[in-house]
Symmetry: C2
């Protein structure tokens, strides 16, 4: 039916034939891939290279030429921009990057993420994302098995752990007060949430956004290792009830952000059962331990949880983001709580089983097939090797803790429970000062200066923070199998070198 006469509109926009052929950019894509493999994969993970090449915001603005103009740029200029973006970015996959709760390069997950990026898919419906719909389901089921939910449940991958914790809060609220979805909170009682002082800030953020209010998040005290004290939880629940509030959710943390502490889920679960409260376990960070036969005892009782947040992009090294929210419910609570039944997506007169159209379970509309990144890694390594990696991370952090104890001028905050190792470096000038306010203040100023020098040197990245009444201390997080004992030795040597004159 198409004629061969060149077709133009009034505005002289050519409509015949594609205006852009993918073949014409083939060489650009190939060249870019060469740069990525060389600079962002090989060099970025090479221990002899820098972790970062620090530039101040002002310098970097100059270097990057940020401005967006009317006219486009040549391919060679764009390739240079790719090189620059890589060059001045932090190499989080470098064996000496210990700054966050993620690290290292996981090649299978990387390839999987290239595939999902290229396929440009969103998980609304089976017809749109058949492969990834089934894969997400398979991964969620296996994760539930690891949790110990023998009868299964439901779940959803989403944009991050903060979102998972929000899902938990919303589902818990919906289970007890389904009317809030329609009517809002203005007619509802004052709800109360319980979480430990060491828990992630996303619990408060969720309470703020959800109209519950941060003041209705009760911060339960922790013991000196950072674990929630169950008796304190029960006291707070009872006290909130006496004041007329309605407790509905307890968040237990499996692997706190700073100390890596595990709340006693088992005991917290008993309290939740007694008071008929939803138990959510924020295992975003600590969930990885479930893969290890040796260490999964840390999450004892997690099978009692109503819901679990678990991010494979942390300990299990999947590319960012890979964040699962899991729920023990079998009554389609996710669907009921979130459905909006958009007729343009969720037609009921389709030719296949529309229970595979999972998009309406989600708070989001578009949603990325992140589960594939974990699935491919898991397929490639198997549960056993994933578990061995976790075991090794544990061993490495123990090794680091022992070294810290051995070395002069280093002081461990506490024995590591997970892969977080928290410690101070005390420069020679402070070593003979008595413990006290002056010592603390001086010590407090040490870590920021070492961090500045470290960043400018580019040799490694380790985070620091003040915490509770403690002076600034370093937190090393050991995850990646690309890290060796030598890298840990290096970090301690380097901290000493960078801070010995302070």
């Amino acid at each position: 039916m198409a004629s061969n006469i060149e077709k133009h509109t009034n505005d002289d926009v050519p409509l015949n034939g594609p205006a852009l052929s993918v073949l014409s950019v083939d060489s650009f894509i190939h060249q870019s891939m060469g740069i990525i493999l060389e600079d962002a994969v090989k060099k970025a993970t090479d221990v002899r290279e820098k972790v970062c090449e620090w530039r101040s915001p002002e310098e970097l603005k100059e270097l990057l030429d940020l401005e967006l103009r009317d006219q486009g740029e040549s391919e060679s200029k764009i390739l240079k921009r790719c090189r620059d973006a890589i060059r001045y970015s932090v190499k989080t996959t470098h064996p000496r990057f210990f700054n966050q709760l993620f690290a290292g390069m996981e090649p299978y997950s990387l390839v999987a993420s290239f595939i999902t990026e290229t396929l440009k898919t969103s998980l609304y419906t089976y017809e749109m994302a058949p492969v990834f719909t089934l894969i997400e389901d398979a991964v969620l089921r296996k994760m539930m098995e690891m949790i110990g939910w023998e009868e299964g449940g439901d779940g959803i991958f989403n944009a991050g752990g903060s979102m998972s914790n929000m899902y938990a809060m919303n589902l818990a609220r919906y289970r007890y007060y389904p009317d809030i979805k329609e009517l809002g909170l203005s007619a509802a009682p004052q709800l109360a949430v319980f979480t430990s002082q060491e828990s992630h800030y996303s619990i408060s953020k969720a309470a703020a956004l959800m109209g519950i209010g941060t003041k209705n998040v009760h911060m339960v005290p922790t013991d000196k290792r950072g674990k929630m004290i169950p008796s304190a939880l029960e006291e707070q629940i009872e006290s909130a009830k006496r004041k007329g509030a309605v407790p509905f959710l307890v968040n237990a943390t499996a692997g706190t952000t700073v100390f890596g502490a595990f709340d006693p889920i088992d005991k917290i679960g008993e309290i939740c059962e007694k008071h008929n409260l939803w138990l959510h376990v924020d295992a975003c960070w600590g969930g990885g331990a479930l893969m290890s036969k040796k260490h999964k005892y840390l999450l004892k009782g997690i099978e009692k949880a109503n819901s679990v947040a678990w991010n494979p992009h942390k300990m299990l090294m999947t590319c960012l983001q890979c964040s699962a929210f899991l729920i023990r419910d079998k009554t389609h609570l996710l669907q009921h709580c979130h459905s909006a039944r958009a007729s343009y997506l969720f037609q009921q007169d389709k030719f296949y089983d529309v229970s595979y159209d999972i998009g309406d379970k989600s708070i989001q509309c578009s949603r990325k097939p992140d589960a594939f990144k974990f699935w491919l890694t898991w397929k490639a390594l198997g549960t056993k090797e994933l578990g061995q990696r976790v075991d090794r991370a544990f061993e490495m952090s123990r090794y680091l803790a022992e070294e810290i104890k051995k070395r002069e001028g280093f002081r461990l905050l506490m024995e590591p429970e997970y892969a977080n190792v928290c410690f101070w470096y005390i420069p020679p000038s402070l070593r003979n000062l008595p413990d006290g306010p002056e010592f603390c203040q001086k010590l407090h100023n040490v870590a920021p200066v070492i961090k500045e020098r470290m960043m400018k040197m580019g040799s490694m990245m380790v985070g620091y923070q003040p915490h509770g009444g403690n002076a600034n201390f370093f937190r090393m997080v050991v995850i990646s199998p690309q890290v060796s004992r030598q890298d840990l030795d290096f970090v301690l040597d380097e901290i000493h070198n960078l801070g010995k004159d302070l």
Copy 2:
């Protein structure tokens, strides 16, 4: 300091040297990239190939071997899994994919997404993501310029348009009632939100999650083109006030999901001003028109908006997700509304200007550097070519509408305002039936059958839906410069071929 003696722990976990070297997987990554470039880039965008290779869920489960086992698999098996995942996925970048509000392959954005995936970065702080922090800021500023906010504002890229709309609702609520963040809604008045009947379902989802309640989302009637009727909005605002509710937010849609209709932002803005309401514009889909000098009049008045949601991953073809939330405020409302001041991330004693640490503006914790995907495309094409692409999409959809009007058995629902073209196909057997309930019912059954045949054939993908009182109709969405007039002719021919016997 490291000794050369092989170091093992009690459990015989080797700690010396990396347990995984990236070099050992170099060939795997290279081979995978070959598969991706061949199957997911070239073949997926080749008009002679299929858009999808349909398999039922049961068949596909067999083919994919989803189970996750104790033992890992060989590299060659993993490569096969990559090939299979690509093979059975829908090719959304294919020139005959018209099923969603995204389509086509944008090579610069694709390369940018490979870079961000490989660099594995999260936008918490400048020290973690220096390049992407600055690039996000540059892109947001330029987008604000396109909107017409001469004095700038603030903004954040996030996980999708639904999230952007939620940001708007939360900021609007916070501006009028900052106490809700701490105290929750239980002491607050009954809030009221206004949005058109044709608006995206995420407005209701946000109201449900945020404790406002879906019943407090007032659905304002639209005219026959799907545009909000300003007088009806004003009536609803006054009626809600009379009932004791407190209006605080109006959502105007620029580019509705089904019809691509633009609400009259200018008039809605006047009403918002008069009643002191927050005006949010959901331009997730229609924002692309701002790049076109010729068509940006459709968003006249958008400069009056307090906030705008705009997804470059739709009309502007950036890889998924690329979703911006923009706000005209200059008082750090995003920061005040969302901050939780986590001391392990947002230390105030850093050695650089911590105003570059933008992570606390966000509802999320980890957040992907999606802005880079748009920035690189914009750099490569320039504003002018981006605008020409949008113009071409407009022209293509007009061409399609004209063809539909010319052809027997096709009926246009309405002239397209944007790039959505909605139409019925009427098979010969129905052409002589009088309009009426019988005709409607029969027509309603046509599109699902054609869609089933289309999916099984794999020749193209076009969405259908019922809408209002209308029988199921097709919605074509024309975006990609890889689409030619011939592809549109093909779609109409093919619909006729697939449905003429019905």
